[in-house]
Symmetry: C2
Subunit: 328 residues, 2 copies
Amino acid sequence: MTIRIGIMGYGNLGKGVEYAITQNPDTILAAVFTRRNPDTVKPVTANVPVYSASDILSHKDEIDVLILCGGSRSDLPVQTPEMAAAFNVVDSFDTHANIPMHFANVDKAAVSGGKVGIISIGWDPGLFSLMRLYGNVCLPEGKDYTFWGKGVSQGHSDAIRRVKGVKNGKQYTIPVDSALERIRSGETPELTTREKHTRECFVVPEEGADLKQIENDIKNMPNYFSDYDTTVHFITEEELERDHSGIPHGGFVIRNGKTGADSANTHVMEFSLKLDSNPEFTSSVLVAFARAAYRLNSEGVSGCKTIFDIPPAYLSPKSHSELISTML
Amino acid sequence: MTIRIGIMGYGNLGKGVEYAITQNPDTILAAVFTRRNPDTVKPVTANVPVYSASDILSHKDEIDVLILCGGSRSDLPVQTPEMAAAFNVVDSFDTHANIPMHFANVDKAAVSGGKVGIISIGWDPGLFSLMRLYGNVCLPEGKDYTFWGKGVSQGHSDAIRRVKGVKNGKQYTIPVDSALERIRSGETPELTTREKHTRECFVVPEEGADLKQIENDIKNMPNYFSDYDTTVHFITEEELERDHSGIPHGGFVIRNGKTGADSANTHVMEFSLKLDSNPEFTSSVLVAFARAAYRLNSEGVSGCKTIFDIPPAYLSPKSHSELISTML
């Protein structure tokens, strides 16, 4: 059994999916769909056809699962429901506040088409959500914490680049170690935004720009930086390219809870990720859930699913008895 | 909807289940079953009936899920299949090598009775198994590591107490920090038994015993200690009682993997537990899976299940839409 995967959108995430497929022997890349001119898109994999996104329905029979690699702001809210009517789909929709609406839209389309749509897959939402759920059910009397980083925030990097006098820049979100340590030791503090994360900016100024003013503008930017302790470093374009071209990320989900007589015993559950490439890791998770989408649909399931709805065994290429004997 | 839970076996695990039930408002403790004289067993919860284990079938209609709190060596291999024919059951069977056989036995009984039996629940097997699975599917090109401790190993503590001249004792399994650090940094070393864990023993000698001989006998005991760096401390019975009466445990599951072009990017997934009370945490996990057993069976599912087969949402008392809006 080979699962024929289609990629919609060939950016960082789409390329990551392509690499992930090579690591999963039960999957093949059947086609790439793009809104650009297909002639300009060259997949790494040999002999993979590239089609125009507008022609996708004519390739319906060539694809078992379509992985949607667009953005959460404008692509996925439209694409995922549209595609779920015709394909099993997986997306990484990550606008937390809009997930309930997205779920409803995808569910309606997927049910009508008899397909499975798995949404909001990746690490947050995704694996981190799972860990929050397992934490809550295993330790009902407790508190959970999510920390992000150390990693690059695209939104904050974009915000820096909009500051007057800034030519280029990159922002790292960094968890505060002392807060992590308090929580790991079993404390359950109420933490302010400032106590949880710091922000570190690497800025390439335009020639002759007012550095003091740039630093001031960044540090006082509402929503993005003013609630944080922020550090600004000025560097050259070459240094930015050399030292900050990666897209690392990661973070921590910690659940602290109490059990027993008088809640005398404390337990700490911690999950963490340290990722060299945020999009490549997300892609790799997407491919595992594509397998689950295919299998569920093969069993007659349809509708929208989240990471909370997928029995873990459906993610693995191993048989059930192999899983039990090797991993349980 | 209230889930009526029965506890079979009122030791550390059974008591832990009783406390966990008080933290889960959709569950109540309906009855305790014991092989001892029921008059000698006094649950903490008021007005809970205690029945003889041999009468359990006459209480079939009072119990939605029976949590089996016996031992893996002789109790569960017999009890779980026997009970699964009449009750939804959950157990913590932890003899890894025998899980396939146990699964087959429980499956046959549960299918015949139209019930759900969830086996091998806890943290290893259990949450650690889950993390191994999620690690493998998210990073197919990688390696995983499981470390246990710091925590009390009952088997090794029992082994110490069988040594000539030893009155009492307790053994802690401790992961080697430097090995953990190497793996966290992205290395994928092949580690020997000795490189992964050390063993620390606290021993109360009998009066006039030969301490050198005891230390020697422990350190050279095959299977249990000879493959490890072992430290032996001699203490008094009072010190043992004061400083070592807890049953802490925990451990780490780490998956290291590579993605992308030329596998250039490294990712580290880490899950850890730090538990003040091994049995109370295990009990708390058992109760969450009792909820899942009840729900699955209410939907008409029957047969044996493992932690790999349960959609995470079934573990939570929250509705699906609440889960999506609060945890995803």
